[in-house]
């Protein structure tokens, strides 16, 4: 089974993200693989471990994206494609277009990726890609079964239950983080990652011109970022609950205007 996993590199949310003049400050920020995409890599690895075949990672972005790809290779993916892309702001439409170009002429049974990116939370790219490639798509899966090269059963999480869907391959599928617990890279995996093939392409290699890239190739534009207001400090009530509960209720009524 040949699987392509598009991954996105995002700022590490464990760190304090700073915003300056409406832009995220990248200085000193460390970048990681978006967590849903890590889940997708793990899912793809499990599938190829069962059926054979290879996992190819696809990353689009500046030089630093190669680090994310290496990390995915260290987890066990077999090869990677890096579209070296420095065009700055690009929306889901723009990225999906590039991905569709990369897929042209490639052999794959499945495109598996995260249900959304950890930084934008947009959740649009995979669906657009499916549209461009004219492939079936299933989003937000929490499980798969009956794995075969031409199809499988997918379990899709909804608010009121789980949808069980049969799908024919090739297809585009996105994953929920409850699908699995991504493996940590092993030391041996890291040492081997360097020796695995990484293909670097530029947008012009893909036959894409300036009008298809960056803001020009996008349908939306982010005007600015605003930091959420920092939360006010909590208040602690000392004493036993016969005193503290009424005190807390009193506060909720007087300050938070809670109706009791």
């Amino acid at each position: 089974m040949e699987i392509i996993v598009p991954i996105r590199q995002v700022p590490d949310v464990a760190l304090n993200i700073r915003v300056n003049e409406g832009k995220v400050v990248e200085d000193g920020v460390s970048f990681v693989i978006s967590s849903w995409d890590e889940t997708a890599i793990e899912g793809a690895l499990q599938m190829t471990e069962e059926l054979g075949g290879e996992v190819t990672l696809l990353g689009i972005g500046p030089e630093r994206v190669s680090e994310a790809l290496r990390k995915g290779l260290a987890m066990g993916a077999h090869k990677a494609i890096h579209v070296l892309y420095e065009e700055g702001q690009t929306d889901s439409f723009g990225y999906a277009k590039i991905m569709a170009k990369v897929m042209e002429g490639r052999n794959y049974d499945l495109i598996l990726t995260g249900k959304q990116a950890q930084d934008t939370d947009a959740g649009l790219t995979a669906s657009m890609l499916a549209e461009f490639l004219d492939l079936p798509q299933v989003t937000n899966i929490i499980r798969f079964s009956d794995l075969a090269v031409d199809g499988m059963t997918l379990y899709r999480k909804g608010d009121h239950g789980t949808e069980v869907i049969g799908i024919k391959l090739p297809a585009v599928v996105t994953v929920n983080d409850s699908l699995n617990e991504p493996r940590l890279a092993s030391m041996r995996g890291i040492m081997m990652a360097k020796k695995k093939p990484m293909e670097t392409l530029s947008p012009s290699d893909l036959g894409m011109g300036a009008e298809e890239l960056g803001l020009q190739g996008s349908m939306t534009e982010v005007l600015k970022f605003e930091k959420p207001e920092s939360r006010k400090e909590g208040e602690r009530f000392e004493g036993d609950e016969t005193e503290t509960v009424p005190m807390a209720i009193q506060k909720l009524v007087s300050e938070a205007k809670l109706a009791v």
Binding site: N20, V25, G28, M187, M191, A193, K194
Partner: protein, 617 residues
């Protein structure tokens, strides 16, 4: 960052490996050809992630549950199983072990960085990993081909656990007083009899078998350490086909009820109670102590790491807490009505504590990583290369400094961290009280601090006519020569130069002290001298780092075209700039406050006070 979870100072670790020590230069040598910069970075990142995500969650639970004995065997806390298994599966447990025997063959400095995380995550687990590698390496260096084939790989895979057995009830610091005996059985093995005490991981259910490296005296051998030989003694015999065979008459008599480090069982082992315990000689007869020193030297650096790892973790927790905890008003506004309460990090006294902790932690890291880096050089350099001998001498003199100073300093840092937290620091809701209990033993085992000081003053300073000490002083001089004119660090270098001179004078004065008061006059101040010399060495390394940091900062300021008027904001908001600037401040603070504190311990030596020898207790 959190006041309870494990936070590792990845920025400092990466700076040391890349910008200061340039560890990737080792990739020009065959032994480390695969370790380029990118690989090293990823190894350290992922290794530290293993520490925070897999190891650290076991820390508190393993402390609360502890190890116990059941039917004569040790049962470890359940929560240890997963990090132990994953440590081997992912390769972090045997990072530095020989690739020839299934290890990962990473440079010592890279291993140290990953182990800093693992140790802070759970020092007992880290001890399991380190002792097993150390014992496997003894087999590699001194064992027959048969022993190598039988044991090493399985130890490097964690199937077999390794231990070091020196101590006995009557032989602690004085290893040479050991009573365990060995008798040639005539079939290539020895019959072993005796009791070893305090054996870390002397028995475990994490592995299938335990392989003990045991010092024992062959019948008729001389007394003292010169009569000790080293033996490999499996708990359960291993058959020719690798299957586990009969029990080898090693009884786990009991485990200690300790103050901390509850994830690591400390056992009393009885060898040959039924007269059928068999041991295999490692190395030559009566050369056991010098063979064992290979493992002890590694273990001394490993033990020093407990000080750094836990000290650093404690500092990070305290720093985070100091930012969150609101208490009192700022001292400069104390008389202004309606002044808001501030986070305690605003109080000068708390800042002083944080600064001391930061300096000591970075000083420990500098000393230890420099030492590991020398180990790497020794692995790569040709033995004929003059640099080889110099590096070996440096390693020998730095080892007791690392063990003696980093353990004591780590304890001190954790103590200060508890102080910063106030009352909650004393509770089990925060990890510091456990760290304080866990870290305490580091200054006791692997040779107490005083024994390290004796090793320094009595052996390392005098060996080869003082050549080891000269080699360290040589490193100080070249640092001074190269950097003393650095405009931003001139004052710090001047201060440090005086401290180096004092070290030299104190060392030279020891001859007079011997004449004046005998050797005990020198021994009396051996530990203060060790602490002083260690801080001077750490200061030198921190200054080297500061030189790099100020130049990187200048570069960054030029790159970003930062105007003078914006500099303050830049230093506050750009994490790299802040880091570089802090390096300079930390180095300056270290020579101005931390080295003098250690120097003051020698006040009695300077005034030739021998009260402790004169008094009738």
């Amino acid at each position: 960052m959190s006041s309870t979870d494990l936070t590792l100072d990845e920025q400092d670790i990466h700076f040391l490996l890349k910008d200061w020590l340039n560890v990737s230069r080792l990739s020009q040598y065959d032994s480390f050809k695969d370790f380029d910069q990118e690989t090293i970075e990823m190894l350290v990142e992922e290794g530290l992630r293993f520490a925070t995500d897999v190891v650290a969650p076991s820390r508190t639970e393993s402390d609360r549950h502890g190890c116990r004995m059941e039917d004569g065997r040790v049962v470890t806390p359940e929560c240890m199983k997963e990090p132990y298994r994953k440590g081997y599966e992912l390769g972090w447990a045997a990072l530095n072990a020989s690739p020839e025997y299934g290890g990962q063959g990473a440079p010592a400095s890279v291993g140290l960085a990953v182990n800093e995380g693992i140790n802070a995550g759970n020092p007992g687990l880290s001890a399991h990993f380190a002792l097993t590698i150390g014992a496997a390496r003894l087999v590699e260096s001194f064992g027959s081909e048969e022993l190598k084939a039988k044991y090493i790989e399985r130890m490097n895979r964690g199937e077999f656990n390794g231990t070091m057995c020196l101590s006995e009830p009557h032989a602690g610091s004085d290893v040479g007083a050991g009573l365990t005996t060995a008798e040639d059985a005539g079939d290539g093995t020895y019959r072993i009899k005796g009791t070893k005490s305090w054996i870390s991981n002397g028995d475990t259910d994490l592995a299938e078998n335990s392989i003990h490296a045991v010092l024992a005296r062959i019948k008729g051998a001389p007394e003292g350490t010169g009569g000790l030989s080293l033996f490999l003694i499996p708990h359960t015999l291993v058959e020719e086909d690798g299957k586990l065979g009969a029990w080898n008459d090693v009884t786990v008599a009991s485990i200690e009820n300790k103050m901390g480090l509850h994830s690591s069982p400390t056992a009393v082992l009885k060898f040959g109670e039924n007269d059928h315990c068999r041991g295999w000689l490692l190395g030559e007869e009566n050369r056991g102590m010098s063979c064992m020193f290979q493992m002890m030297n590694e273990a001394r650096i490993g033990t020093a790491l407990i000080g750094l790892a836990n000290g650093s973790a404690a500092y990070q927790n305290a720093l985070s807490y100091a930012r969150e905890r609101v208490q009192g008003t700022h001292i400069s506004k104390i008389r202004e009505p309606g002044t808001p309460r501030v986070a305690i990090i605003e109080h000068p006294a708390v800042r002083y504590n944080l600064m001391q902790m930061k300096g000591k932690v970075e000083g420990m890291r500098a000393l230890l990583y420099a030492t590991a880096n020398i180990l790497d050089d020794l692995e790569c350099l040709d033995q004929e290369d003059p640099l080889y001998e110099d590096s070996r001498m440096l390693l020998d003199i730095l080892t007791p400094l690392c063990k003696g100073w980093c353990t004591e300093t780590g304890i001190d840092v954790v103590r200060t961290a508890i102080q910063v937290l106030g009352g909650v620091g004393y509770t089990k809701d925060f990890p510091l009280e456990q760290m304080y209990r866990d870290i305490r033993v580091s200054a006791i085992y692997e040779g107490t601090t005083d024994i390290q000081a004796l090793d320094l003053v009595g052996r390392k300073m005098t060996l080869q006519n003082g050549a080891l000490f000269q080699s360290l002083m040589g490193r100080f001089s070249s640092n001074l020569e190269k950097n003393r004119e650095n405009p931003q660090l001139q004052a710090a270098y001047q201060q440090w130069e005086k401290q180096c001179e004092t070290v030299y004078e104190m060392a030279m004065a020891s001859k007079e002290v011997v004449e004046d008061r005998g050797i005990e006059g020198v021994a009396l101040y051996a530990t203060p001298f060790l602490k002083f010399l260690a801080t001077v060495a750490a200061a030198g390394f921190l200054l080297e780092q500061a030189v790099i940091a100020v130049s990187k900062l200048d570069q960054l300021i030029a790159e970003k075209a930062v105007k003078d008027s914006d500099l303050e904001a830049f230093l506050e908001n750009n994490p790299e700039a802040r880091f570089f600037n802090n390096k300079r401040i930390t180095a300056q603070n270290f020579v101005d406050t931390i080295v003098p504190e250690a120097e003051a311990l020698l006040a009695g030596a300077k005034s030739r006070n021998y009260g402790a020898l004169d008094i009738n207790f």
